[in-house]
C-alpha cells in the first residue's frame, strides 16, 4: 500500500493524501479544517482490506499523521508553553518545520537513490575476492590489555540523556475523551473545559480538545469562548438556549 496515494474523502478535502500534504504545506488548506481522525479511519479501512499487515505503510503513515497532529495541536495551542518540548512557540514552530523538512529531504534523497539503483542496475561487478587471488591475512599488532577494561567500563556507563521528548508524542486516544465527555454531558448540560482537563498533561489536553472538536463536528455539543484565552464552555446541544442567554447565565453564575 502506498500511503501517499491513500484516497481521502473528507468534508474539507477530497483526493490523495499526498495532495493534502502539499496543500497544507503551501497554506492552501488550513489544517484546522481537516478531520485528522477521518484520515486515520480511512487508512485503517484500507489496511484492514489487506491480508497482511503492511508495516512499512503503517510506519510512513504514523510519521505523517503524527506530524499533522503535532502541527494541528501547535496551531490550536500556540501560546501554551509546551512542556512536551520545553520550547517557546516560535522555537517549536521552527523545530517542527526543520524536522518536517529534514524528513522530506530524507524522502527526496531516498527517491534519488532509488532512481540511481534503477539506472545503475546493469553495472555488475565482483563482490569479494577474485577466484585466483592470494588470501590476505592481516596480522594484528600487539594490543594493550588496558583497552579492554576501558571499553567495558564505557559500556557500563549510563549514556548521556538524549532528548527525544518531542519524539515521545504519545497522543492519548481521542476516543477515550469522546466517551468521557459524552458521559459528563449526560450528567450536566454544560461544563467548563479548562476545569475539566486541569489535572491532565498538555498532551492529554490536546487529545481532549480534539475530542471536543469532534463532538462539535458531529453536532453533539456547542463551544463557547467569551474572548481569546477565556475559559471554553462546552454545552450539550439538545439544550436550546440562544448564545446571549448562555453568556449572561454564565456571567450571573460567576458573579
Amino acid at each position: 500500500m502506498i500511503v501517499r496515494e491513500l484516497e481521502l474523502d473528507l468534508d474539507a478535502f477530497e483526493g490523495p493524501f499526498d495532495l493534502l500534504l502539499a496543500l497544507v504545506l503551501k497554506e492552501e488548506l488550513d489544517l484546522a479544517d481537516i478531520d485528522l481522525a477521518g484520515i486515520v479511519v480511512t487508512f485503517l479501512e484500507r489496511l484492514a482490506e489487506r491480508e497482511e499487515l503492511d508495516l512499512e505503510a503503517c510506519g510512513e503513515f504514523l510519521v505523517l499523521i503524527a506530524a499533522l497532529l503535532e502541527l494541528k495541536a501547535r496551531a490550536l495551542f500556540p501560546d501554551e508553553n509546551a512542556e512536551l518540548a520545553e520550547l517557546d512557540p516560535e522555537e517549536a514552530a521552527e523545530e517542527l518545520a526543520r524536522r518536517l523538512d529534514e524528513y522530506r529531504r530524507a524522502k527526496e534523497a531516498a527517491a534519488w537513490l532509488r532512481e540511481r539503483l534503477a539506472t545503475e542496475g546493469d553495472r555488475f561487478f565482483r563482490l569479494g575476492p577474485a577466484p585466483l587471488a592470494p588470501k590476505v591475512e592481516t596480522p594484528l599488532a600487539p594490543q594493550d590489555p588496558e583497552q579492554l577494561g576501558i571499553v567495558l567500563r564505557l559500556l557500563a556507563t549510563e549514556p548521556p540523556q538524549v532528548s527525544l521528548k518531542h519524539m515521545a508524542l504519545n497522543f492519548p486516544p481521542v476516543s477515550q475523551f469522546l466517551e468521557r465527555f459524552r458521559a459528563v454531558l449526560k450528567r450536566r448540560s454544560r461544563f467548563d473545559f479548562d476545569t475539566e482537563v486541569r489535572e491532565l498533561t498538555r498532551l492529554e489536553q490536546a487529545s481532549a480538545f480534539l475530542a471536543v472538536l469532534e463532538l462539535r463536528r458531529s453536532g453533539e455539543l456547542l463551544l463557547e469562548q467569551a474572548a481569546p484565552f477565556a475559559p471554553i464552555r462546552v454545552i450539550r446541544l439538545q439544550e436550546k438556549s440562544p448564545a446571549e442567554e448562555r453568556t449572561s447565565e454564565w456571567n450571573l453564575r460567576s458573579a
Binding site: L62, V63, A93, R98, D101, W112, R123, P129, L164, M167
Partner: protein, 199 residues
C-alpha cells in the same frame, strides 16, 4: 614507500598499464591511485597515464570488461551490455533490493555522515533498529564508533554502498538545499498562526 629518496623505477607505459590490469583483476575492492602506485612501485602521475591506457582498452562497447572510477578508486566491472548474461549468472544482489524504509535510512546515513539510530529515528519518526541491522547485514552501512561518552553506536555508509550506487564518492550525492525555500515557508506559516493566536 616512506623514504623520500626512494628511486622510482622508470616504467614503460605499456608495462605499467599491464601492471595496473593485473592489480585490478585480483583486487577485491576499488583501488585508489595511491594504492595502485604503491603496489606498482610507480609515481601516481605515471599510474594516471597507465589508467588512461587501460581505460581505452577496457571501454564500454569495445570490451566485456570495463574500467570504472567508483567509490574513491578504480575497478573493473562487466560492461553494461552484458548485464543480461550477468543477471543469469547471479541472483539479483540483495543490495539492490531495498525497501522504501531502507532507502530512507540509507539516505539519512549517507547525507548526515556518521549518525546513530536515535538520529535516524528522530528524522524518520519510527524506530530505526531493524532497518539499520538490515543495512549492516547487506554491507551497505557499518559501525563508525560511538557518540561521546558511551552513547549510541554511529553508522556510516561503506565503499560497497558507493559502488552499488555507482558513486565516485559521497560528494556526488545531489545537494538537497533547494528544499530550503520551503522550510522558510513552513516556518513563516507557523509563525503567522502563532501570532494570530497570541494577538
Amino acid at each position: 614507500m616512506e623514504s623520500p629518496l626512494r628511486l622510482v623505477a622508470s616504467h614503460p607505459l605499456d608495462e605499467l598499464s599491464r601492471t595496473v590490469e593485473a592489480l585490478l583483476v585480483v583486487a577485491s575492492a576499488p583501488l585508489s591511485l595511491d594504492e595502485l602506485a604503491a603496489a606498482a612501485d610507480a609515481h601516481p602521475e605515471q599510474i594516471d597515464d597507465a589508467l588512461r591506457l587501460v581505460g581505452e582498452r577496457f571501454a564500454e562497447g569495445s570490451s566485456g570488461i570495463v574500467l570504472e572510477h567508483v567509490a574513491g578508486g578504480w575497478a573493473f566491472r562487466a560492461s553494461r551490455d552484458q548485464a543480461a548474461a550477468c543477471a543469469r549468472l547471479f541472483e539479483r544482489p540483495a543490495q539492490r533490493n531495498l525497501s522504501q524504509a531502507a532507502l530512507e535510512t540509507l539516505a539519512i546515513i549517507a547525507y548526515l555522515g556518521p549518525c546513530s539510530r536515535p538520529d535516524i529515528a528522530r528524522i524518520r519518526g519510527v524506530a530505526a533498529d531493524s532497518g539499520v541491522a538490515n543495512l549492516v547485514e547487506r554491507g551497505l552501512v557499518t559501525e563508525a564508533g560511538r557518540e561521546s561518552g558511551g552513547g549510541a553506536i554511529r553508522y556510516r555508509t561503506t565503499p560497497l554502498f558507493e559502488r552499488i550506487f555507482g558513486l565516485e564518492s559521497l560528494s556526488e550525492l545531489p545537494r538537497l538545499d533547494d528544499v530550503g525555500a520551503d522550510t522558510e515557508q513552513i516556518r513563516e506559516r507557523l509563525e503567522t498562526v502563532a501570532e494570530k493566536r497570541t494577538a
